[in-house]
Symmetry: C2
Subunit: 339 residues, 2 copies
């Protein structure tokens, strides 16, 4: 009587964070009478005079956006981090705090207010990729910036307050919690095996095929074995690369193609503009070699059963461990069906 | 020019999880145009014939609830964990999974459909406390249960699908992620200092008074220095106790009084039934002595600026670290104002 991962409650190990996710495959049939989200199927104009991200419009701080043609980056008007911050430590018995310096930017993916990455051409996404690369290099080269977090919150349900296609970049002097975890797991593996943890994992997944969504010359899109969110996916470069700063042109195109493919598929699953938070995890810019890092981009979409019913990461998940109902392998089948 | 914790962006260290939270005090003024939650000010009947938690009603699996007078506990009809589960390990290269055994229960706090803990009498909450204690002891004494997680999801925005006052208990064979972190930090401190980490922290906070919300003979309610959620609070027993299994009668009353006080204050802040997830973190039931554990109950409420605007833990928070705008000390002032 062996453990059957598609039937029995079990936990799976995340090799990058070294934490566990509880998987309850049998629970997918639970009825839902709780909160329903609004479906986002609004058709937006290409230009919205009241949008503070559209070309030529005025922002909250009074600045006027240029008439940009493709990608436009500016400093966040309500930045959570500031360049000029104090760096001192505060220590008092068991209380410990540290000043945090940083720069927060907003990146508009397109001047077209009506689009999201899923509706953009691969060539347009390529420009976003090139901008991410430039920002990673530029911010990362600053003395006081040791980590650059590129991310996107898409959809009102993911706390996004403006539907204009855009993402953010928060760069800072300390490594965030998630990076500390992934840094140490990758370092340990690299020391022992002299190859990247994610490269080895990728090799195994490519052989198995079970969790692969899509592949091009340079990238694989897959559902990680330990994924938490119902339709979580990861884009992994086939080549061991520690950050996006060294992407060559073919890889830029390949990355854009992978993003285009998965975001288009997402929108098909429930026939809506699929909300998610996405982010790129890559090597710190702390002056160390960081050879153990293998960069990757993850998508964490909250929807579970329909365009209106999401997975809540609440009580048990906050106090215990993340928990999911449909398995990674079931998610693969659904996503692939919508490619 | 010292770091000013009420003005400058900084990070604070959580001594229990050993992770950091990013605090951006200057950002509290950010305008909000994003998603608004529904206000929950509905007046509910004392009995709802369609509620599967009310006395005498039929549940999803066909069972009939007894005509209970105070607290009623039953096995979750859609349990994420099962008693009869396989325990085997699954290991294949970098893939690792383990069968997880457990028991999930639902606990109705009151037969009165119209109430929440905030509207219940202290004597009624005392019965809830006594039931938690009994369940912790009973479940914890089972051979295959090594941890008992007591929690409540309150409000639709916290994934609660039924407004009838109730909580849950998920008990299982492995220690969840959050418990593993808090176990090791407390163990390290206890080994070194021969007293509990939280007891020492409490002593410091009682001297400072800055983050204390409320105190009775046996308990303190405070906003932890490292709190993440806008109005997060913690109830800590003054006596070093590793779990709720040894609460004496005075302590049961004191605990009920603390819960009553903080939940009532919450409802006043934005004049609504304040949503939150709450949970009790306490010693594992794994047969070890666990003297280093000092149990505590935390409330994680999501509302930020009003009954309709919550804090989103999304992009940066998911990929980096949790982030908050108002500081712990500002939250204390607001909560105390509503005591
Ligand atoms: O068990 P319930 O109340 O149906 O479900 C709620 O609490 C669970 C435990 O935190 C979560 O896994 C669910 O996502 C949430 O909707
Ligand atoms: O910066 P925005 O888009 O206004 O805000 C959004 O993203 C931030 C970074 O993930 C979060 O801290 C906010 O809670 C969320 O609403």
């Amino acid at each position: 009587m062996n453990l059957n991962l598609s039937e029995h409650p079990h936990r799976r190990y995340n090799i990058l964070t070294r934490e566990w996710v509880l998987v309850s495959p049998h629970r997918a049939k639970r009825p839902w009478q709780g909160q329903e989200e609004e479906v986002n199927n609004e058709i937006r104009p290409k230009y919205d005079p009241s949008c503070y991200l559209c070309s030529g419009n005025k922002r909250a701080n009074g600045e006027i956006n240029p008439n940009y043609d493709d990608v436009f980056v500016f400093n966040n008007d309500f930045a959570a981090l500031q360049k000029s911050s104090k760096k001192d430590q505060f220590k008092d018995g068991l209380l410990l705090a540290e000043g945090e310096q940083g720069i927060c930017k907003v990146i508009c993916f397109s001047p077209d207010h009506s689009k999201s990455l899923a509706q953009m051409e691969v060539e347009e996404i390529e420009k976003v990729v090139k901008t991410w690369k430039k920002e990673y290099i530029d911010l990362g080269s600053l003395e006081f910036i040791n980590y650059v977090q590129i991310f996107e919150n898409k959809g009102a349900v993911m706390g996004c307050s403006n539907p204009h296609p855009h993402g953010q970049i928060w760069s800072q002097s300390n490594l965030p919690n998630e990076i500390v975890k992934k840094d140490s797991s990758q370092k340990d593996f690299f020391k022992k095996n002299n190859r990247s943890l994610l490269g080895s994992y990728l090799k195994q997944e490519i052989e198995k095929k079970e969790r692969i969504i899509y592949e091009n010359d340079a990238f694989v899109v897959l559902v990680p074995f330990w994924s938490v969110w119902p339709f979580e996916t990861m884009i992994i470069p086939k080549e061991h690369q520690k950050n996006i700063g060294t992407l060559n042109n073919d890889q830029e195109v390949g990355f854009a193609d992978a993003i285009s493919t998965i975001t288009k598929a997402y929108d098909q699953i429930f026939n809506c503009s699929f909300p998610y938070s996405s982010g790129i995890h890559q090597a710190p810019t702390n002056g160390e070699k960081n050879e153990h890092w293998h960069w990757h981009m993850s998508f964490y979409p909250p929807l579970l059963r329909s365009a209106t019913v999401k997975k809540f990461m609440v009580g048990y998940e906050m106090f215990g461990s993340p928990q999911r109902d449909i398995t990674a392998e079931q998610a693969v089948k659904i996503i692939k069906h919508h490619l």
